[in-house]
Amino acid sequence: MFLGGSRFQCRGPRFFFRLSSGLPRYLAQTVLLLLTMTVFVTTVAAEPSDPVYLSELIRRATDAKLADSREWHALLHYRLNFFGGVTSEQDGPTFFLASDGKTNPQTELEATLAGFFSDTLIGEAKQTVQCAFVARYAWLKEQLAFDERRLPSKDCERFRNWMQGLNPQSVTLIFPSAFMNNPASMFGHSLFRVDRQGQTPQTRILAYTINFMAEVPDGEGIMFAVRGIAGGYKGNFSAIPYYLKVKEYRDIENRDIWEYRLNLSDAQVRRMLMHVWEMGNASFDYFFFRENCSYQLLPLLEVANPEWRLTEQFTWWTLPGDTVRLLTKQPGIVGDAVYRPARTTQIRRRYERLSSDERGVLKRILQEPLLVRDQAFQQRPVERRALLLDIASDYLRYQSVTDEKQAETYKSRDREVLVARSELKVQSDNTPIEPFVTRPELGHRTSRIGVGAGYRQDEWFEEVSFRTVYHDLLDPEIGYAPGYQIELFSGALRHYGKAEQTRLERFTLANVVSLTPADSLFVSPSWKVNVGMQTLRHNNCRYCSAGVANGGAGLTFETHLLKREYFFGFGELETTYSHAFEEKHRAGGGGTLGMMADLTDRWRLLASATYLRFPLGEKSDEVRWSVGQRYTLAKDAALRFEFNHRERRDNEALFTIHAYF
């Protein structure tokens, strides 16, 4: 029963250790081990084992309290649990050598020491314990000064080859920015890149990455969200070449990438990678909000330097931007940051460098690439021709990815363009591409609390509001993409003075808005979804709770009249459930027009007007409009003043101070 099949036979002896304790324990262990050697002859047969030395090592480890040490807990991913003990976050079957290793650091340490004597091959990759758990071995060897004659070290050829393949020099944290069109990437992503010795800025794409992700079967649909949040998927580490990641993020999903060089010593890099090798035998239940791609990078850093305490900073959720912020806050961990623009960013920035005449030429080339053979085009300066052709090629490749049906057309146009480009013996314009979005760690923190007061209908109120994550259109924009809003689990408690009533004024499950300005190059729809509870006034009900779901699609245009303005329009559908309606519900549709304008760097205005008609349920219609203003006080503090008009004379003015944490 303790042998657990043929996986790992060294579990056996540990059973006997637990029969005794204290000083007689050592004697008992030795005697029992000697006795049981004959029993285990069948399972540990012919293995060069030394039970006396094993029990000596265990005794010394126990005396030194190694099982309680920070290093051991980091290597095994132990975290404090509710009962004052520890539980490991690792959930796979081959990572622990003791049957209760998930919750018992001491038995796991003893079983690990026993395993070091064994030649039994464990795990999917069939390695000895020493080779499967190279970081545990290196650390225990150092702590206990293993006698090479009594516990010989094994040659781990595969691990050696793997390290040689990585050829590590340093580690870089990679942060691909948020991507609205994939729910799994809405908050961005993060991974490590293992930079190679002798690598140049030109060849860093050859480095391997360390990437934690969930195994999600195809066609999961809505279950993806449920399982992703509840830990229904297995997450594993993999080491994908960085050029494939660059292709995925920069070329296909059009996401900017930030690269933060980490200042780790050679020994720290090596320790971390030895532990990454151990992760080949580990798997973790993937929790979308906390134990996710971003969180699971932190234990690797804690192994690199056990003095860093990173995982405990996150209780409920870990967003990739937060990990970047956390690491940049630790003195000395993060070195310089390198920006790698998305393909679309590169196109837009280079397009800005064109004259209006050149823009016209570019449009014609995109339709008819053979125009580049015309005399008129050939007379332009060679640098300008190269720039035009570079933009055209990038744009045609962008089109071939976004419009798969026409991909062949765009590809053949791209070939024409590139052949013409190869005839121009000039370097491409290498002016650095400036990002449209500032570095994520410079932005406000993602949780928010607010204290506000205002006047609704005919009475004063005070309220406190709370948001778990992440960003809304009126929050300070630095570090976040403009026109990008995700609010999850936010709400407000409000006390009405005259009515002497305290109520949950509103609660948002999810309120997502994506305003993507359409221009002559890129036309993407804008969209919004909002599901939650609101307070409305209707018929005879003065303050009535209502469940509301609203969704719409539309277009956004950008101008630069003052600083920057977005004008947007949506067609939308809405359904509401409330006791305020005679038939308990109403459903219908309508439209919204709005404007978002930056008046100064700190001051933003957001105004919108909506008309909705509800032909289903309680037949009615409604005009709403609102004007909101934000003034940024500091990175993590802002003032907000909002005026909302709803049905009939339901007017509300609200003044709030927000703090981000």
Binding site: G123, E124, A125, Q127, A132, R158, N161, W162, G165, L166, N182, A184, T200, P201, Q202, T203, R204, I205, L206, Y208, N211, M213, A214, E215, V216, P217, D218, N236, F237, S238, A239, I240, P241, Y243, L244, K247, E248, D251, I252, E253, V276, W277, M279, G280, N281, A386, D390, S393, R397, V401, T402, E404, R415, L418, V419, R421, S422, K425, Q427, S428
Partner: protein, 168 residues
């Protein structure tokens, strides 16, 4: 969009041994890269394995799993060094063709590095790919491996690059 990425990996993995054998056998017939051959023989199981490894739009666990990623062209989740140039050309053909036309770029520099072209010869290498672009890319239309072969041949005829001893 994701499908494109998956497709490109499948095509890349498949194209390697399917390419015509090279005179010098430097690329394309490495022992680990049996995947494409199997594909052409209709081995659905391996195709399925690669597809499974690339679902969710990301390359994943079977192909690049740490300690376990041992299929076709990878061992312990890493490409064998003698096959890496071919795999790289397969997986990055689009970016390579763009950078060859522009006479430089990180993908082209990385390919040159994998082929063993020393840093000081790389500008000559870039200029050569730009010079011979139309011919090189035409061979690349058949398979990226054929493009690598054409690159090799072009280098052999180049006054400076012919002296570079490449990774075999």
């Amino acid at each position: 969009m994701k499908k494109l990425l998956i497709l490109s990996v499948v095509v890349a993995l498949a194209a390697v041994p399917g390419a015509p054998a090279f005179a010098n056998d430097a690329y394309g017939n490495g022992p680990g890269c049996g995947l494409g051959g199997d594909l052409f023989k209709g081995n659905k199981a391996i195709l399925h394995q690669v597809l499974a490894a690339t679902t969710n739009g990301t390359f994943g666990l079977q192909t690049f799993g740490i300690t376990t990623g041992t299929i076709g062209c990878t061992n312990n989740g890493q490409f064998a060094s003698n096959e890496h140039a071919t795999m790289f050309a397969n997986l990055n053909f689009d970016n390579l063709s763009q950078e060859m036309a522009q006479g430089g770029g990180e993908h082209l520099a990385s390919l040159a590095t994998l082929m063993g072209v020393p840093a000081e010869q790389q500008p000559a290498f870039f200029a050569m790919t730009q010079e011979k672009y139309a011919a090189l890319i035409q061979s690349g239309e058949t398979t990226p491996a054929a493009m690598l072969k054409a690159l090799h041949e072009t280098m052999a005829a180049h006054p400076v690059l012919a002296k570079v001893s490449l990774v075999r």
